[in-house]
Symmetry: C2
Subunit: 217 residues, 2 copies
């Protein structure tokens, strides 16, 4: 494990590279150059090379990087040995969409429980994922060893739910509610801010232009 | 409208500032300092000030920025005069989640049509949004003046669907399929890469640390 801090954008791109590399591996490809990986991910070769410097891997000057070796290195960096368990709070449409999105896709990430205050939505099974009443959250997070909480509740309940999750011992939170969440220094919160995401896209649609390219670390 | 290119991250943050400012306005607040807005959005005051430099607004040294004026300036920058219409391809769980997410929330963004190849999902109305068979896409995009396409189909169909949308005259695409999409220079593609997003969060949960802060433009 390299000791220097890895930029968030690099972590994101390594995840994308891995998906592309797995597809190539499935097709029987064995080697790849950084410029090829850049083209497949709509990135720049220099950026790909900078990202791969965080892995313990060297390219063969004639053939490029070994695809199998690259995948192993990314696995070692990103994944925990055991599958990380996620719990979702809010079993509405968004919650269901995430449960379905991860079903059969995640190799090392799994949504194992959903929580809701609405009794009509609890004590059911959504695509293999059991739903519990919200008051069970402490117990279930501990019993199932859930380390990541996903918040898809309305914005007014988001901070309260975050505090329940933190109290239950969660290590990271994915917040889909359209409001920023406060957390202690030990709990990482990642905001999936759909409104900003959509409004940004609408801005570029309005301007009828691609965004000015900025090299983000 | 300022002529200099505005960084994508600034556009995203302006959208977030606007939501926070609208809440403050609803509570009766009239003025705000940049450091206060920074605290409310978990950002830094210097960054907020840099972002607001793209707006045509000056702060009052004693009272800070007028909240009403800030909102108006952000509206002028981000919004089109008329509501921008969005069409979603894929009327599954994720498609429904987005339709519900935007219902009653968007002031200037609206999902007006959904398309699917599955006949069981078409010619219905999901929370006010009509679903059409995929072959109607050219006709409906033009008739309803849809400028933004949202792709929530399986990855193997994503590029084909993107090409249909581009042919129909769309100006920007939001791609939720877990695969990069190619587009001509005039059509902006924004990838909502959920897998990378979740894997990144899992990485920080595994490391049990907050990410190294990098000042992104």
């Amino acid at each position: 494990m390299p000791s220097k801090a890895i930029p968030m954008k690099t972590i994101e791109r390594l995840s994308l590279y891995r998906r592309i590399l797995r597809e190539l591996q499935a097709k029987g490809d064995e080697f790849i150059f950084s410029y090829q990986l850049a083209a497949l991910t709509s990135g720049k070769a220099a950026q790909v090379r900078r990202d791969l410097m965080f892995l313990d891997i060297l390219a063969n000057p004639q053939k490029g990087y070994s695809i199998t070796e690259l995948i192993t290195c990314i696995n070692n960096l990103l994944d925990k040995k055991e599958t990380q368990k996620m719990g979702i709070v809010g079993a509405g449409n968004m919650g269901r969409a995430f449960i379905n999105f991860f079903k059969g896709r995640g190799r090392n990430l799994e949504i194992v429980a959903a929580f809701d205050i609405d009794k009509k939505k609890t004590n059911r099974v959504i695509n293999g994922c059991r739903t519990y009443p919200l008051e069970k959250i402490q117990e279930i997070v501990k019993t199932l060893n859930i380390t990541i909480g996903i918040i898809t509740v309305p914005e007014n309940d988001a901070q309260d739910v975050a505090e329940l999750l933190i109290k239950a011992g969660i290590r990271a939170i994915i917040n889909v509610a359209p409001v920023p969440i406060k957390s202690p220094a030990t709990v990482h919160v990642e905001n999936l801010d759909l409104t900003s995401f959509f409004e940004k896209t609408a801005y570029y649609a309005k301007m009828n232009t691609k965004p000015h390219t900025i090299d983000e670390a």
